[in-house]
Symmetry: C2
Subunit: 169 residues, 2 copies
Amino acid sequence: MQPDRSSEERMIDSTLRAWRFNADRIDKFFNALSPDQLEQEIATGRNRLIYLWGHIAAVNDGLFPLLGLGPKLYPEMDSMFITNPDRAAVIMYSAEQLKQAWSHINEKLLAGFSGWSPAEWLERHTAVSAEDFRREPHRNRFTVVLSRNTHMAYHFGQAILAKPRDLKL
Amino acid sequence: MQPDRSSEERMIDSTLRAWRFNADRIDKFFNALSPDQLEQEIATGRNRLIYLWGHIAAVNDGLFPLLGLGPKLYPEMDSMFITNPDRAAVIMYSAEQLKQAWSHINEKLLAGFSGWSPAEWLERHTAVSAEDFRREPHRNRFTVVLSRNTHMAYHFGQAILAKPRDLKL
C-alpha cells in the first residue's frame, strides 16, 4: 500500500480486508467439509451447515442488484436458502453446486467492490430513492457492505458450533 | 448529517452506525433475560449465555488499551471470560455486575470513537510498532473497530440460538 493513499482510500482498504477475512474463513471452513458433514445440524433441530452456507451465499448474491452491480447470479437460491427455512424447499443445491455458486458470487462481488472510487462507495444503494437518500445519506454502498459483513460473521459463528473435532482451521 | 461532510467522515458515520447496530441488539437481547435464562447453554455442553455476554464485554474492554483510550475498566473479566473457558473460572460476575460492566464499557467506548478525527481513526493501534506500521498502515484503529464489530456479531449469532421463545426482539 502506498503511504500517500488518502484517508478514504485507507478506510476502503480496511473494509475490503474485513470482508475478505470473513469470506476467506467461511470459504475454508465449508470447503473442508464432506457432503455428509454438511448435513450436520448446528444444534439439535436447528439449521444444517449446508443451509447456513447457502444462506450466506444467497444473501451475498442479493448484493449485486442492491449495489447496482447487475442481477443476482443464482436467483433460484432465494427459495432454497432465504424465503424458506431449512428442509422446506423442494429443490436444493448439492454440496458441489453450492460450492461453485459461493465461489462465483464471492469472486465477482470482490471484483465489483474493488473497482469503486471513494465517491462510488458512497453512492446510494438501489433500495433507497434519490429523495430519501438526500435525507439519509448513510444508506450507501459502504454501509451495506459493512452490514453484510457482520451478517456473514453472525452465521459463521453459528456454523462453527458444528465444526468436526478433527478439522483444523 | 450535513450533506457537505467529507468522504472519510461519511465512512466513519457508517462504521459507527454498524457498531451501534450490533451493540444495541446485544444490549437489548441480554438485558431482557433473567439470571436463570442467562444460565442457558447455546447448545448442549456449549457456552452459557452469561459467558458469551461476558466474553463480548471483556473483549470490547480490551479495546481501550489497544486503541490508546486508557486502561481496561474491568481487567478481572479477562480470567472470567477470555483466558478461561466457561465454568472454569473460580469467580464470576453476577448477571447484575455484568450488566453494569457491559453498559459502562460500551458507553465509554462509543464516547471514545466519537471523539476521533479521520486522521485519528487511521492512527496505529498500540499492539503494532511504529516501524511495522510504516510497512502495514492498515493496522490502525479503523481496522480494529471493524474487526471487533464482526466479533460481536459472531458471538451474537451464537447467543440468539438460545433465545427464549417468548422473547420479542
